[in-house]
Symmetry: C2
Subunit: 197 residues, 2 copies
């Protein structure tokens, strides 16, 4: 599968590149510099739209300079959704506190959209999908929320937490793909690529 | 919580020590050298019995030399169960093939038993619990099973797979605590310790 096809990850996320490597998919990283604005409101549409924008941007630039090459570009976007609202990255500690208060003693959703733009054997393809995982969080006291915020781990993370860090002690369980919550549904990506190539 | 209490992990598993450290619990490692034989047959009883044996063994040895100290010992044991059978570590590649054939296109269970033996403020306590997670595996071809076995990742792993390695691409989803599958239900352990101390 995918022999002699160059894989390009259109994301700067160290977690995504780790997951691809873990799955044995050697790849280069080329980050899209286009603005991340999506029109969609539903979380699954939103993440797929942004994943497409990133993958397409990198695809177009790469294609011009590598006309003879077989390659594919993977774009991805992850959001946390609680009570129907998309939670982005926190702008401040107060913002993080508000988000974590919504998540504690509750179940929320994590959506990752993935877009694959490929040019293999002269044939161009576009393929987009999303994966959803549910995450159940234990009740947290004010002190526990503040202690977690003080670690700084909440910064730069959608929904104000990272499942791989110290927040793990507050997660009662998940339903769905764990790696989807980390930032890339590597299993579904592998299964989809297996069907396509 | 647990200030001035020495935490001892009675396990040589690098994954368990990583999870404890990730949760911010500094600890020492003292591995039990007692034989790992349990009488129980049901997986949840089996893992709790072995966790108790390991924790108690290390507790007794440590206690004799640290009479004045506040400390607790954590023992843990993890098994994979499929169709009511406990799957241990594979004895050969053929054994691994048989186990993975049972797991593919199916849902199995992972049980971790945890035993905590403590001596805090002169009071001794014993506390044991287990956590169960369900794991759904995508259908795998013979070639995919053999490719995975050839990576060597299946060796020394209950059920012949590690969820953190290349096998991740074959896992459709889980229901329950991910870290329980890795080898230590760090969230439940934290919640139980919070109640006790």
């Amino acid at each position: 599968m995918l022999e002699n096809v160059n894989i390009i990850l259109a994301s700067a996320s160290p977690r995504r590149t780790e997951l691809l490597a873990q799955a044995g998919m050697n790849h280069k990283i080329i980050v899209s510099d286009c603005e991340e604005h999506a029109k969609a409101h539903a979380p699954e549409e939103y993440v797929m739209e942004l994943a497409q924008i990133k993958a397409e941007d990198v695809f177009q630039k790469y294609y011009k300079e590598h006309l003879e090459e077989d390659f594919l570009v993977i774009g991805a976007d992850t959001v946390v959704a609680a009570e129907g609202k998309i939670l982005g990255k926190p702008k401040s500690d107060a913002d993080a506190y508000e988000m974590l208060s919504m998540l504690q003693a509750n179940t929320h959703q994590v959506y990752t959209g993935v877009a694959v733009c490929s040019c293999v054997g002269g044939e161009m393809k576009r393929h987009t999908f999303f994966e959803r995982s549910d995450v159940e969080v234990y009740p947290m006291s004010e002190e526990e929320i503040n202690t977690y915020i003080s670690t700084g781990d909440c910064r730069d993370k959608a929904g104000s937490y990272g499942i791989q860090g110290q927040f793990a002690v507050h997660i009662k369980g998940i339903h769905g793909d764990y790696n989807n919550i980390v930032g890339l549904p590597i299993a579904k990506l592998y299964q989809e690529l297996k069907k396509e190539f």
